[in-house]
């Protein structure tokens, strides 16, 4: 039996003016390109959950033969972001029409199981752990069921855990590899469509398992840059210290997402810098205190507002760049908000910035609220869930004002002038008085 696992990542901005802007502002598309170039950790994990003796072929959708030709797999598994899910459904329909059974899984499928089930012989909801092995047993016995419920807890514990099959990346041009150390995030921001939607509570992988995954990935990919596929990596400080200390001897470079509270712990920051941590992506969401109210259930982010600037400066002083994320279109945002973000970015001297538009991903509290308020522009807009296309009516401005403001802000933030300013600031930090952590050195090869 050969199982074809097909990854569909990467997004394409739909709004023409924004797509054109991306051509002239390389920094604007930079992060999107990086995300598109990452292998699918979900499918590598599915491969890891597949019993030995069953052959698995990993494919990126762009590698598939041209339309009309289909590889002769016995079973196909497809995972896609919301923005690519319509294309995933089309591909699934083609395989099914050719008599090849299809399994769909991933975050979107977990949020919209009934929709996905129309295009699949079986769907996997939530994590593949606990579901995929049963599905394969049933498939081999000729009694595939339409829906398999994955585990929502205990996914990193034996016997549920499986090492992702990084060996499937051999010979491919990846230079970035994802490793997951946790699922979930207690902040529970209402727009978040990440792993917290498929887990009950925060789950953390033992440090030894993460390190072993990194070692395995490094055997296959030369000098990989590791991206931790986490919602919020450093909630458990004891684990975080142990992780940083264990990563340091590997001599790797890595990146992850966390929240502003990491700045409270200078001992941890020093260890992270020493461990090769290059960048922390932090969702500041807005430079306006009012816009942060109600973003998460406990108003945690609203309470952090006053220390944003100090936290950015402290983290960056360790040579770790902060990629500050801001969302435009929040309910309290007005046409004044765009300038406010630009001014905050300048004032904070953030070394990298990610600007996105509020996006009501299916399954999120935000989606349900905007749907109930009749503010969604179309009933089904999945291919526009790019984080840059506007899909809803903002509260305090028009759709076109939001789109125009975003384009203005992109042009400001990602201009050569601003980019040069950020690069200079980083160089001054590197030359600064603080003792340089090991990762500040140009990486020795």
């Amino acid at each position: 039996m050969i199982i074809g696992l097909i990854a569909m990542s990467g997004v394409r901005v739909r709004t023409r003016e924004l797509a054109e802007l991306g051509v002239t502002l390389p920094q604007f598309v930079n992060r999107g390109k990086v995300v598109a170039s990452l292998p699918s950790l979900g499918l590598l994990t599915v491969a890891g959950l597949t019993p030995a003796g069953v052959e698995v072929a990993y494919r990126e959708v762009d590698e598939l033969p041209p339309a009309g030709e289909l590889e002769p797999f016995d079973l196909v598994g497809i995972s896609a972001f919301t923005a690519r899910i319509e294309a995933a459904y089309e591909l699934a329909d083609r395989y099914r029409a050719a008599g090849i059974p299809v399994v769909l899984g991933g975050l979107h499928v977990s949020m919209m199981p009934d929709e996905a089930a129309e295009h699949a012989d079986a769907i996997v909801v939530d994590g593949a752990e606990g579901a995929w092995p049963r599905l394969l047993t049933d498939f081999a016995a000729g009694r595939l069921r339409p829906r398999y419920q994955g585990l929502r807890k205990g996914v990193f514990e034996s016997p549920n855990y499986a090492m992702p099959r990084f060996d499937l990346l051999a010979g491919r041009p990846y230079n970035r590899v994802t490793v997951q150390t946790s699922r979930g995030c207690p902040r529970d921001c209402d727009f978040c469509a990440a792993s917290l939607r498929i887990t009950d509570g925060f789950q953390q992988k033992p440090v030894a398992r993460v390190i072993e995954e990194m070692r395995r990935a490094r055997e296959v990919v030369q000098h990989p840059f590791f991206e931790l596929a986490d919602d919020n990596s450093f909630l458990n400080r004891k684990w975080s210290r142990a992780f940083a200390d264990a990563v340091a001897p590997l001599g790797i470079r890595w990146f992850t997402e966390t929240d502003v509270s990491v700045a409270d712990d200078e001992d941890l920051l020093a260890r992270l810098a020493d461990s090769g941590c290059q960048q922390l992506l932090i969702g500041f969401e807005s430079p306006s205190e009012a816009s942060l109210l109600g973003i998460d259930r406990r108003n945690w982010k609203h309470r952090q507002f006053n220390r944003y600037l100090e936290a950015i400066e402290r983290i960056q002083s360790y040579g770790i760049t902060v990629n500050g994320c801001f969302i435009l279109g929040l309910d309290s945002d007005t046409v004044e908000s765009f300038e406010r973000v630009r001014d905050f970015v300048r004032q904070s001297r953030l070394l990298e910035v990610q600007i996105t538009v509020l996006t009501p991903f299916p399954g999120t509290p935000l989606y349900r609220r905007l749907l109930a308020e009749g503010r969604l522009l179309q009933p089904r807009y999945w291919d526009r869930c790019t984080l840059f296309d506007v899909n809803f009516r903002p509260r305090n401005m028009s759709v076109s004002e939001l789109e125009h403001g975003l384009r203005w802000l992109f042009a400001e933030i990602y201009s050569e002038r601003e980019f040069a300013r950020r690069k200079r600031h980083y160089m001054e930090i590197v030359k600064g008085p603080k003792p340089l952590p090991r990762s500040i050195e140009v990486q020795r090869l």
């Binding site: 000098h223 840059f225 470079r253 290059q278 960048q279 760049t321 050569e416 002038r417 980019f419 040069a420 300013r421 690069k423 200079r424 980083y426 160089m427 001054e428 590197v430 030359k431 500040i440 050195e441 140009v442 990486q443 020795r444 090869l445």
Partner: protein
């Protein structure tokens, strides 16, 4: 400092930093690619060169400093600027 001396020093520094024999680099080689430097590591290299030579590169041209030839041109320009100021 004359260009030949500056070039020797830059090559030596790059060799020390990357463990690659920078003596064999061509003036037009793309340094980040040859030395396997990501964007941050490239900036760290430039910062280190600034510190070593006591100069400051033109902020607007940092992105162009990807080859030995361009680096040496920028060093010359920056040193000239230092002397004038």
């Amino acid at each position: 400092m004359n260009r030949i001396l500056a070039e020797r020093r830059v090559r030596r520094l790059l060799s020390e930093l990357s463990d690659i024999d920078a003596g064999r680099l061509d003036g037009s080689d793309d340094l980040p690619a040859v030395l396997n430097l990501d964007s941050l590591a490239t900036l760290r290299m430039l910062a280190m060169l600034e510190q070593h030579f006591g100069v400051r590169f033109d902020d607007g041209r940092l992105g162009e400093l990807r080859t030995l030839d361009r680096l040496l041109d920028a060093l010359e320009a920056a040193q000239l600027q230092e002397e004038r100021s």
